[in-house]
Symmetry: C2
Subunit: 307 residues, 2 copies
Amino acid sequence: MAKQFETIALIGIGLIGSSIAREIKDKGLAGSVVISTRSDATLKRAQELNLGDRYTTSAAEAVKDADLVIVSVPVGASGTVAAEIAANLKPGAIVTDVGSTKGSVIAQMAPHIPQGVHFIPGHPIAGTEYSGPDAGFIGLFKGRWCILTPLPDTDETAKAKLRAFWEALGSMVDDMDPEHHDKVLAIVSHLPHIIAYNIVGTADDLEAVTESEVIKYSASGFRDFTRLAASDPTMWRDVCLHNKDAILEMLARFSEDLAYLQRAIRWGDGDKLFDLFTRTRAIRRSIVQAGQDTDMADFGRHAMDQK
Amino acid sequence: MAKQFETIALIGIGLIGSSIAREIKDKGLAGSVVISTRSDATLKRAQELNLGDRYTTSAAEAVKDADLVIVSVPVGASGTVAAEIAANLKPGAIVTDVGSTKGSVIAQMAPHIPQGVHFIPGHPIAGTEYSGPDAGFIGLFKGRWCILTPLPDTDETAKAKLRAFWEALGSMVDDMDPEHHDKVLAIVSHLPHIIAYNIVGTADDLEAVTESEVIKYSASGFRDFTRLAASDPTMWRDVCLHNKDAILEMLARFSEDLAYLQRAIRWGDGDKLFDLFTRTRAIRRSIVQAGQDTDMADFGRHAMDQK
């Protein structure tokens, strides 16, 4: 593929940052990649993995010559990074991020971004339960959506360049209002993670059922939730703190619906249960049809076992 | 493998029944397999798939010569099946089931089982989101636990024979008190399914977020829940109605814990969130170590894509 940027700076080199680094190298999208992370150990690991061309623990240093800066840090750290890099950003550079909350990231970062630099917040809808530079891989973004939440008066050329970058990584790109993004993600991502963390916590706390029993018999449903509940704690703490309003709204809806379902169970209302359990099947089918999940039974677990 | 029973009757030929049928044939565990289901269409399909040796819509007819009878129907139908087959059960025969609730199944079936027939309730902890005779496959029970909940004074020889049967299918076998089984399954299986159905219902009902958005961006977590929420509605309605007390107890615990988590989000208590999100990681690791789930990122979805 053709080179899209002369120099790309990656601030943060976890699952997302390191997947982007691998894609850039694989597809020849940049002349040079500068990698920055605060931790010496992580930076060293990124270097061992040969993810970039230059390595520094200073984000300010990293962005000096960059035409594209991608900030991939827990959303609570966005403001600090923006403050740190602001003075060194090159006029005409594009600054983007990959955070799962957009209102908060914009509030934290936008005030620091100087005139003449294009700040275009973004969010690739992709990930796994693993984190760190070793967790990244080529193909993570393929067939997945990337949402951009540009501010008013965003430069169209800059936006087109960022869009083309994500498309080169295999993504489909949508534009969205930041506030709407935060509501959408609250239901499709934040609530599922919170619920998964919660049910795993509940199971862990029970007196009547031992942890060993929970583990042994987890193939009956529980194990599905443990994947999301194994996600990076720092990232998810920050998401909860930085998309509070939308998450609390979705939690209220969820709890209201659960109370209704609980009442149907208590009073033996089989028809209400059957109606809900039938309706939810259709959504799974639509997700599979949209290419957003496999149609293989049990996510293909048995098929993998047989290989 | 050696033949274990002369004649096995399978009452119900869905995901579980048809997986058992395939295993029996594959491993030569029976001289003859009789298949029975109420639906003409399903019975015809079982015959097309060549799952057994004889086929009948009459459960009473099916069990006549059977040394082992396996009832694999939604738990709400257990009593009806027991009443239907009771008079035709052969002295010395073993009757078992595969239902996800044991207290209720015992209450429904035990009164019908004649003296001299060994009723040993069972529950293989295995399944997928698909149902019907086409959904079954060889390997479903491999490495999974099967729980037997024998009644007091159960014949040890009969129990050993049933245990050996499940072991031949690749399962590990545990004995458990029926009441305890129902509590364990309420947390590891019933609650996860109910929560999954509920969150998919909540997402489907939102006004602020469209169904198309939920589907497009589902790879950020939501899609995991849609798998469980695509499970058989009749089976799950019956589970909810027949394990009410244990499910309501677990729902109360879950909601209590969720209120605590919600409060931590509202008041920005990052430490509480971080503590929970860290603790839950360990359980995933234990499940993987126990061989009850894959350690591949994202259940191996990306790895499957690349094959």
